[in-house]
C-alpha cells in the first residue's frame, strides 16, 4: 500500500512537474506570441525559437519540471519512509513498555527486562521503578522470614517454658523432655543432654542424662570427665561450638537402615550467670541456621537456670528428707541409748546381786580360812583376824611386812619360786611349813591365787590357808606308828622268806630224790594236769619232759584203757574217787603207741584246797628180768 502510495507520489510529482513545466512553457509561448513586437513581426512560433534561442530552454521546462517533481517526490518518499520507520519503532516501544508494565503489575519482577537506550527516560525510570519494586519485595520477604523466625522462636520459647515449668523435681525426666523437644522442634536427628555432676571426691564430670537416637552402647559409656573432649571444651570456654566437619568416629546416627555421620554438630553450654550446668549436644544431617543456633543458645540459658532451680529443689528436698531422717534416727538412737542404759543398769543390778552372794562367800571364807593378800613381791596388803591369831602377830606388827617373815630361813627359796610362778599366773596349792612370831612351826594347807584384772595384769595374790598343824602332828604320830608296823611287817616278811627258802630247798631236794628214783614218778594236780615227770618216766613213756608237762594225764593211756580199766578211769577223770595207796597193774601207752603193762601206786597229797596226786610206776617187764 505504502509502496503504491509512494510510487503514486512519485508519479504524481513527476506528472505535476511536467505539467507545470508545460504550462509554464505554454505561458511563455503565449506571452511571447502575444507580444506586440512579435505579433507585428508576424512570425510563427517557429520564428520565436529562432528569435529567442532561449526558447529552447523553455521547451525543456516540462522535462525539467518532471525532474524537479521526481526529485521532490524522491525526497518526500524518503521523508515518508523515515517517518513510517519512526512510527513503527515508536509503536514497538510502546508495546514493550506496556508488556513490561503488565509484568510489573503482575509482580513478575525478575522475568521482566527492558532494552532501553540511554536517552529513553521513560524506560529508565520504569526500570528504576522495577528495581525499587524488587528491592522492596525482597525487603518484605526478608521481613516476613524474620517475622516467621521470630514467631518460630517465640513459640518455641513458650512451649519450652512449659516443659521447663512442668518438670521441676526430676532432672532425668527434665533433661529427656528438653532434648526430645529440641530434637523435634528443630527437626534434627540426634541430641544428647549432659548434666554436670560431682562425684563424692568433688571431681566434676558430665553425665549423659538423656539422649535421642544415641547408640545404646555409647549411652552406657557416656560419662565424660570435666575438660574431656568437645563437651569439656565447650564447658570450659563457656561458648557454643558449631562444626560442620564432624570426625568420622566422633558420633554416628543410627537408624534401622544403618548409620551415618551427621553433617553438623552443635554443642551448646548450659550456663547462667557464667556458671555451667551442663552441655547440650545436637547433631543433624542438615546444617543449623543461625537463628536456630540463636534459639538454642537462648533456651540454653533458660535450661541452665531451670536446672539450677531443680537442683536446688532437689537439694532442698534431700535436705528436708535428711533432716526428717536425722530426726527420726535421733529419736531412734535416743531410744536405743535409753535401752542401753536400762541394760547397763540391769546388768549392774545383776552384778550387785551376785556381789551379795560373793560377799557371803567371802565372809564365810574370812571366818573359816586364814586369808591374806599380798603383792607379787610378797609384801603383805591385808590379812584377816584368823591370820593374826594363827601367826600370833598384832596387826601393827604385820603392816608393810613381807611374806617371808612367816617362812623359816631354809624355806625362803621356796617362796621365791612360788612368787615367780604366781607372776606368770600360776596358782599355788600345797601343804607348807610356816613360822609363827614365836618361832613355832605350824603347818598350813595353802592356796595362792593371783587376782587378774581385765587387762590381764596381776592385781594381787589371794592366799587362803587352813591350819593343819594338829593334823600334821597326828599324821606324824601315825606315821611313826605306821613305821613301827612296817618294821614288824618287814621282820615277819623276812621270816616268811626264810621259811619259804627252806620249803623250797626241801621241795627241790624231794624233787631231786624223785627225779633220781628208779621208779617212774609223775605228779598231777586235781585237774589231771601233769606237773612232774621224772627221768624214769621219760624213759618209760618215751616222751620228753617238755612234751608232757602241762598236758592232761590221759595222753599217757590208751583210750581203751581209760574206758575199761577202773583204776585208769578214776585216775584220769576229775570226778571219780581215785584209788590211792594200792599197787595196781595197768596198761600205759607210750609215745610210739605201744601198750606197756606197769605197776601203778598212787599217793595223794593235800595242801589246803589243792590236791596233788603222785604216781610211782614200775615197769613190770623190768621186774621180770
Amino acid at each position: 500500500m505504502k509502496k503504491i502510495d509512494l510510487s503514486n507520489i512519485l508519479r504524481k510529482f513527476i506528472l505535476r512537474g511536467v505539467l507545470m513545466g508545460a504550462i509554464f512553457t505554454l505561458l511563455v509561448f503565449l506571452i511571447n506570441n502575444g507580444s506586440t513586437v512579435f505579433v507585428q513581426s508576424n512570425s510563427s512560433w517557429r520564428d520565436m525559437l529562432y528569435i529567442f534561442p532561449s526558447m529552447w530552454l523553455i521547451l525543456l521546462l516540462p522535462i525539467l519540471g518532471g525532474l524537479v517533481g521526481y526529485f521532490a517526490a524522491i525526497k518526500l518518499i524518503k521523508i515518508i519512509k523515515k517517518q513510517n520507520k519512526y512510527l513503527k519503532k515508536e509503536s514497538r516501544r510502546s508495546e514493550r513498555v506496556l508488556k513490561f508494565v503488565n509484568n510489573l503489575r503482575q509482580g513478575n519482577l525478575n522475568n521482566s527486562e527492558l532494552v532501553t537506550e540511554k536517552s529513553d527516560q521513560l524506560s529508565n525510570s520504569l526500570l528504576k521503578l522495577r528495581d525499587y519494586l524488587i528491592k522492596s519485595k525482597k525487603e518484605q520477604e526478608q521481613r516476613r522470614i524474620e517475622e516467621e523466625q521470630r514467631a518460630w522462636g517465640t513459640q518455641g520459647v513458650a512451649q519450652f517454658a512449659e516443659i521447663l515449668r512442668r518438670n521441676n523435681d526430676n532432672l532425668e525426666e527434665l533433661s529427656f523432655n528438653i532434648i526430645s523437644y529440641l530434637v523435634n522442634y528443630l527437626k534434627i536427628n540426634q541430641g544428647g543432654f549432659y548434666l554436670l555432676n560431682r562425684n563424692s571426691k568433688g571431681d566434676k564430670f558430665f553425665e549423659l542424662s538423656a539422649c535421642i537416637a544415641f547408640d545404646r552402647k555409647k549411652f552406657a559409656e557416656k560419662v565424660i570427665q570435666w575438660e574431656e573432649g568437645l563437651i569439656g571444651r565447650c564447658a570450659i570456654e563457656k561458648d557454643t561450638i558449631y562444626m560442620t566437619d564432624v570426625p568420622n568416629d566422633y558420633i554416628s546416627i543410627t537408624s534401622g537402615l544403618g548409620e551415618t555421620n551427621p553433617s553438623a554438630l552443635l554443642i551448646v553450654p548450659l550456663k547462667v550467670n557464667d556458671e555451667i550446668y551442663g552441655v547440650i549436644e545436637l547433631a543433624s544431617f542438615s546444617e543449623f541456621q543461625p537463628f536456630e543456633v540463636e534459639f538454642i543458645e537462648k533456651t540454653a540459658e533458660s535450661i541452665a537456670s531451670t536446672i539450677s532451680t531443680v537442683q536446688i529443689n532437689i537439694q532442698t528436698t534431700k535436705l528436708l528428707h535428711e533432716t526428717q531422717h536425722q530426726a527420726e534416727r535421733m529419736s531412734q538412737q535416743e531410744e536405743e541409748l535409753r535401752q542401753n542404759l536400762e541394760e547397763m543398769q540391769a546388768t549392774q543390778e545383776e552384778s550387785d546381786r551376785r556381789e551379795v552372794e560373793m560377799k557371803g562367800i567371802l565372809e564365810a571364807i574370812d571366818n573359816s580360812a586364814i586369808s591374806c593378800e599380798f603383792a607379787t613381791d610378797g609384801s603383805l596388803i591385808s590379812v584377816n583376824q584368823l591370820f593374826l591369831s594363827t601367826y600370833k602377830y598384832l596387826p601393827e606388827e604385820i603392816e608393810g611386812q613381807n611374806l617371808k617373815i612367816f617362812f623359816f630361813q631354809d624355806d625362803v627359796e621356796d617362796l621365791n619360786k612360788i612368787l615367780s610362778d604366781l607372776t606368770i599366773g600360776k596358782s599355788f596349792r600345797g601343804r607348807v611349813k610356816r613360822r609363827t612370831k614365836l618361832g613355832e612351826e605350824i603347818f598350813m594347807l595353802t592356796t595362792y591365787t593371783p587376782v587378774i584384772d581385765n587387762q590381764g595384769d596381776i592385781v594381787k595374790i589371794l592366799s587362803l590357808e587352813n591350819d593343819i598343824t594338829e593334823q600334821v602332828h597326828m599324821e606324824d604320830q601315825m606315821k611313826s606308828s605306821k613305821e613301827e608296823l612296817g618294821v614288824m611287817l618287814q621282820q615277819a616278811r623276812d621270816e616268811m622268806k626264810e621259811q619259804f627258802k627252806e620249803i623250797e630247798a626241801v621241795k627241790i631236794r624231794n624233787e631231786k630224790t624223785l627225779e633220781g628214783a628208779l621208779d617212774a614218778i609223775i605228779t598231777t594236780n586235781k585237774e589231771g594236769t601233769l606237773e612232774f615227770f621224772n627221768a624214769a618216766a621219760e624213759k618209760l613213756w618215751g616222751y620228753e619232759r617238755s612234751e608232757v608237762l602241762g598236758q592232761h594225764i590221759s595222753m599217757l593211756f590208751s583210750e581203751e584203757a581209760v574206758k575199761s580199766d577202773q583204776f585208769v578211769k578214776a585216775y584220769v577223770t576229775t570226778e571219780e574217787k581215785k584209788l590211792v595207796g594200792e599197787r595196781k597193774e595197768v596198761p600205759i601207752k607210750n609215745k610210739f603207741g605201744d601198750e606197756i603193762p606197769v605197776l601203778f601206786l598212787l599217793s595223794e597229797a593235800q595242801i589246803g584246797e589243792d590236791h596233788s596226786y603222785t604216781a610211782f610206776i614200775q615197769n613190770v617187764e623190768v621186774e621180770l628180768f
Partner: protein, 279 residues
C-alpha cells in the same frame, strides 16, 4: 499412784498373754515408769488401756522390753566361740543353734559370719526367738543403719584380724547402700535363720530338737533369780551333752546349775558327767 507396778503386772498377766511378774523388780519398775512418762499417762490409765486396747499392749511390749544388741558385742566371747567352740563342731553333720532373745538379730548374723569363716555355713540350722514382734520383723529384714553401725563393722575387722589373716570383707556378707545409709545381709546368710516370736518365760520351748549352741545374752539380767534358774534349766534340757550356752559377759550361772555346766572361757559347756550320776 493408785496401784503398784507389781499389782499392775498381775493385771497384765491376767488380761494379756504376757507375764512380767518374775522380771527383776528394779528393771521392770523403771521400764513401766518410762512408759508412763513417754505416754504421759498415770497407772490407772495404763491399766485401763491394757485391759481394753490390744494394739496398745503390743506397743507396750515393745516399750518394756530392752532390745539392745550389736554386731560382735564383747569380742572376747566371739573370739572364744571362733577358737574353741566352733572347731569342735566340725565333725557334726548338722549344727543346731538357738538365739533366745535375739532382738534385732545382729548377734545371729555375727555368729553366722563366724561359721562361714569356718566353712560350716551349710551345716548350721539357726533359730532366733524374741518376745517382741517388732524386733523379729527387723531381724527378718536383716537391714540396719550403716553409719550407726560403723563402729561395729570396725569391731568385725578388729576381731577378724585377730583371729585369722585371710578374712572376707564385710561387703562379702552385706549389700551396703551408702546413699540410703543402710546395709543388708545377703541372702546366703539370712536364709540360714528362722526367726519367730516366742515368749521364753511363759511359753513352752517350741523346738523338738536339741541344740549345740544356745545364745541367751543379756536376757537373764532382766529376770529375778528364780526365773533365771527356771530358764537356765530349760536351756540345760535343750542342750546336747557338751553343748554350749553363751551368756552375756556379765551374766553367770548360779545355784546347782553351776555344777551342771563347765565354764569354758567365756562360754558354759554342758557337762555330761552329771547325766550319768543323777539320771
Amino acid at each position: 499412784m493408785s496401784i503398784t507396778f507389781k499389782e499392775y503386772l498381775k493385771e497384765l498377766k491376767k488380761h494379756t498373754p504376757y507375764n512380767f511378774c518374775d522380771y527383776s523388780d528394779n528393771s521392770i519398775q523403771r521400764r513401766i515408769e518410762k512408759v508412763l512418762k513417754d505416754y504421759r499417762i498415770g497407772m490407772d490409765e495404763l491399766l485401763y488401756k491394757t485391759r481394753t486396747d490390744e494394739n496398745f499392749v503390743e506397743g507396750l511390749i515393745d516399750e518394756i522390753t530392752v532390745n539392745t544388741t550389736e554386731l560382735f558385742r564383747n569380742p572376747d566371747t566371739w573370739e572364744c566361740l571362733y577358737n574353741n567352740v566352733i572347731p569342735q563342731l566340725k565333725n557334726k553333720k548338722s549344727i543346731n543353734i538357738w538365739h533366745a532373745g535375739c532382738s534385732t538379730g545382729q548377734e545371729v548374723y555375727s555368729n553366722l559370719i563366724l561359721f562361714n569363716e569356718h566353712n560350716l555355713l551349710d551345716r548350721v540350722k539357726v533359730v532366733g526367738t524374741d518376745i517382741n514382734q517388732k524386733v523379729i520383723r527387723v531381724a527378718k529384714n536383716a537391714e540396719y543403719d550403716y553409719s550407726f553401725n560403723q563402729t561395729y563393722i570396725k569391731a568385725y575387722y578388729d576381731l577378724m584380724n585377730k583371729l585369722n589373716t585371710n578374712t572376707n570383707r564385710f561387703e562379702f556378707y552385706c549389700d551396703i547402700d551408702e546413699s540410703k545409709d543402710k546395709f543388708k545381709f545377703k541372702d546366703f546368710i539370712t536364709e540360714k535363720v528362722l526367726f519367730r516370736r516366742h515368749d521364753l518365760v511363759n511359753e513352752e520351748i517350741p523346738f523338738f530338737q536339741k541344740f549345740d549352741i544356745i545364745f541367751c545374752r543379756n536376757v537373764l539380767i532382766y529376770f529375778n533369780p528364780d526365773l533365771q534358774l527356771k530358764i537356765l534349766k530349760k536351756f540345760f534340757e535343750k542342750l546336747y551333752d557338751g553343748g554350749v550356752l553363751v551368756l552375756g559377759s556379765h551374766e553367770a550361772l548360779h545355784g546347782f546349775l553351776k555344777t551342771r555346766f563347765n565354764k569354758n572361757g567365756m562360754v558354759y559347756t554342758k557337762s555330761s558327767s552329771f547325766q550319768f550320776k543323777y539320771k
